[in-house]
Symmetry: C2
Subunit: 176 residues, 2 copies
């Protein structure tokens, strides 16, 4: 059972949060919602409400086993602030699993952690991903070390399956 | 009097469209709204409605004297499609004035026309701008050849003044 940080703010793509979150919980994992301000309620593009448990400025990578970043415009809003960018940078460098979908690579670009990595993401950000030094691969899920990435809502089943498998690998490698 | 293409779709930042559009019209310029589909009504984040006059796939740079791209999430939506990206690429290469604010540089990144240019834009896209080979300058308006750029709604007065001045320069250089 893993403790997963969900990095999220307003305007997230609802289904890119709700479906993976449901699957992670069903598999027995704990979710901690990390955002800009603890206690605030953020909303998806379609209105899904999420309460932020912890501010990005207060959390440490050591508290978590994995990081999940839903898409939509939430990543663009988060990366205008230093604390979530710094949290993502430290997480990506920790080699713990990082699950990203749709626009989520944007915050990894700002954190400057994509050089030499293979990822996928939403089609509007392809050139940004390449300019960041990553290889963009147009498939439903791309796994490169600790990074698991998908493009869009249609890819969610493959994204969930690959993310759960990555959590199992980590659990086996580091018995609790 | 210039004919200005306004490249726009849903989720534009309302005031980044309405204020410059009003100033351009008051100065005697014509606006042609270019989008994904002629005849459709697109809406800003706050609900401002704009009717698209021409599809990006049907227009030529020769028809216009300048290009204006408002910010918000409209540029990210547009750059997921080939026709608006190609229109921006041809416009930027034409040396005709291009006015961009907030997230608008995103579509110039996808069009791969920013290498060696000096621009500004919204703070969330700073790393994308640098990775595209441009120099990001944190000031209210940056003028580099045909490119006039600003960061955010507060910069609109300076953005309008610099854009109108650029249109006057062009009118003097190429008498009608």
């Amino acid at each position: 059972m893993s403790r997963i940080a969900v990095l999220i703010t307003d305007m997230f793509e609802d289904i890119e949060y709700t479906k993976p979150a449901e699957a992670f919980r069903e598999a027995g994992h704990d979710l901690v919602h990390v955002g800009l301000t603890a206690g605030e309620t953020v909303r998806g593009k379609e209105g899904t409400a999420v309460t932020i448990d912890r501010a990005a400025s207060e959390v440490s990578v050591d508290e978590f086993d994995a990081l999940f970043i839903p898409g939509g415009y939430s990543p663009d809003k988060l990366r205008a602030h230093d604390a979530p960018v710094e949290f993502v940078r430290r997480f990506a460098e920790s080699d713990k699993p990082v699950f990203i979908i749709c626009h989520a690579p944007q915050i990894l670009i700002t954190a400057q952690v994509l050089k030499g990595r293979k990822i996928t993401g939403w089609k509007s950000i392809v050139q940004d991903v390449r300019n960041a030094g990553a290889e963009y691969i147009n498939q439903e899920v791309v796994i490169d070390g600790n990074l698991v990435s998908s493009r869009k809502p249609e890819d969610i089943p493959a994204f969930i399956a690959a993310s759960l498998e990555k959590l199992r690998e980590v659990a086996v490698a580091v018995p609790g």
